[in-house]
Amino acid sequence: MASMQKSSVVEGNQKKGLSAWWGRELRKARKGKFLLLLMVPGLIYYIIFHYIPIGGLIISFKNYKPGLGIFASPWAANFGFKHFIRFLSTPDVWNYIWNTIALSLLHIVWLFPLSIILALFINELKSVHFKKVVQTVSYLPHFVSVAAVAGMLTMFLSSQGTSASAGDYLNEGIINQFLLKMGIIDEGISFLDKTSWFRTIYIASDVWQSIGWSAIVYIAALSGIDQELYEAATIDGASRLQKMWYISVQLIKPTIVILLVMQVGKIMSLGSDKALLLQREVTYPKSQILSTYVYNMGIGKGQFDYASAVGLFNSIINVFLVIGANFASKKLTETSLW
């Protein structure tokens, strides 16, 4: 067995080119079909649900007529680029692109430091029992669905504009009940209908949902640090804050850098799930991001060709961002993401 493997390796190094590759793989297949056969269901899955849809992106260059199907539909004007030109010349679009980036950036700016601080704090705990309780509790929101989180936000923040003098709080959510009772506001505020509140609500609930979960990686990295380092520092007279900064933070820096770079690579690929649930038409100036725009134009208004062009534009940018992120990660930490 071992000698057989060795000979095929040598062979593989000698011959190059497509037909040589094909012949080599076929010879392997003749020797053992089982592992190849195992991959057939997966292969079919990837072809049908990834590669055929990628072929279907051709719709972005067509004037799609549902009756004709994608391929029989006529090509769009401007050498097929009609939808892209329309997209890039819509003034609101730059706003939507900025909304996507702004939400991703805010997510990074808040969640990154907070989850690192949480990990550092948990690492300082001496009681194993309390540590476990804190971790378990902080993971809870990760298992709550986005729909339920959006439901909570909608109900907690809802308002029919009840005035403070009304005395009862029918249809006022807990937040408005509290603010009215405290006399901070005179009239209930329907927060989700206010454009200026959208980002705050979105990011605050993001932090609520993922702070504990994002801290896992750092907690694991911290637990791998050699305890002798801390002891040596203590003997040298370092305070606990100094040890946190000069030992803990410095030693998990590679982890932080990799995760940060990965996050930056995803800056334009913010999913539509949560934004769709939280957005109202009045808050579009802040709540419409690229992925929700694709949904609203495509599924909502039935403009499949145009929405698909927007999606394709977004996907191409994402590819470049991810490749750039990988390159940056290689340079900074000598760790490649794949």
Binding site: S145, A150, S239, I299, F304
Partner: protein
């Protein structure tokens, strides 16, 4: 470890404990509040007296929900979708991940297959072409529209492959020498050894399906097929409660002091998160393991 009894160290401890306790309150409060409103009387809620614990305890809202049937039915739908999805996706993922974890001398077309998989991580066609393919396959309004398009998550595939790769090669070599073939090795050695890995990835898939709503909204038209999360979205987001109530044909909750649409909303919301609340403390350790494998090897 050397003890540090300085004042600054004590102050730090106080800050740490206060912030961690604050975090736990912030996490738990909304969940407890939802439960409290769902079992409090309408008058108590409307006069703003429900702040933390239930006031004028009653379970009218839950009675109404269980008598009406919409929510129990969607609950059952969610359970069915989740179970079928976990079985299908584990089958597809295991059969794909195992060959990709073996030496390339043993697996024909391995390089080609891994390129196929990796490329799909970078570039996806997006919502619209996926929607069109599901429609053209005739999957609209069926359970399979939720299950098949996400049968393999490439992230989970990578996690599974890493687990398989961690099984020492010497085990297989010994089996080969004893005359075992690939099928025996896969079935009798690798699968039994990776039970924990399969459980982990199965849980990933299960939680994903239980919590998802977007594909259900895209592909399902008849509301008898809706999963629970989509009902949540409908009831809460679109204020369809009035229509729901009419459909329930029950007017008893319209009468004074029993319950109102608010406590029904809160009760529905609570029912949607309670299964996860019940199981997550037991499954979280598998998730943590999976996150670690995924972040190191991914």
């Amino acid at each position: 470890m050397v003890k540090d009894n300085s004042i600054s160290s004590k102050v730090l401890d106080v800050i740490i404990y206060i912030s961690l306790i604050f975090l736990m309150i912030v996490v738990l409060y909304p969940v407890i509040y939802i439960f409290s409103v769902s079992v409090s009387s309408t008058t108590a809620y409307e006069s703003g007296r429900v702040v933390f614990l239930p006031v004028e305890f009653n379970i009218q809202a839950y009675k109404v929900i269980f008598e009406a049937g919409t929510i129990p039915r969607s609950f059952v739908n969610s359970v069915i979708y989740t179970v079928v999805y976990v079985v299908i996706s584990l089958l597809f993922s295991t059969t794909m991940a195992y060959p990709l974890s073996r030496a390339k001398e043993r697996v024909a077309f391995k390089g080609f297959m891994s390129k196929l998989v990796v490329f799909s991580m970078f570039f996806s066609a997006g919502t619209i072409p996926n929607y069109i393919i599901v429609k053209n396959l005739g999957l609209m309004n069926s359970m399979w529209a939720l299950i098949l398009p996400s049968a393999i998550s490439t992230y989970n595939l990578v996690v599974l492959r890493s687990f398989f790769e961690a099984v020492p090669e010497s085990l297989e070599e010994a089996a080969f020498i004893d005359g075992a073939n690939e099928i025996t090795i896969f079935w009798k050695i690798m699968l039994p050894l990776s039970k924990a890995a399969l459980a982990t990835v199965g849980l990933f898939y299960g939680v994903y399906m239980w919590n998802s709503w977007f594909n259900a909204m895209l592909y399902l038209q008849s509301d008898t097929k809706y999963p629970l999360q989509l009902i949540i979205r409908q009831i809460i987001m679109q204020n369809q409660m009035a229509a729901e109530l009419a459909a329930m044909g029950d007017t008893s909750m319209m009468t004074e002091n029993t319950t109102n649409t608010e406590s029904l909303k809160y009760a529905t919301l609570f029912l949607s998160i309670v299964p996860m609340l019940a199981v997550y403390p037991f499954i979280q350790k598998y998730f943590v393991k999976g996150v670690m494998v995924g972040s190191v090897k991914g």
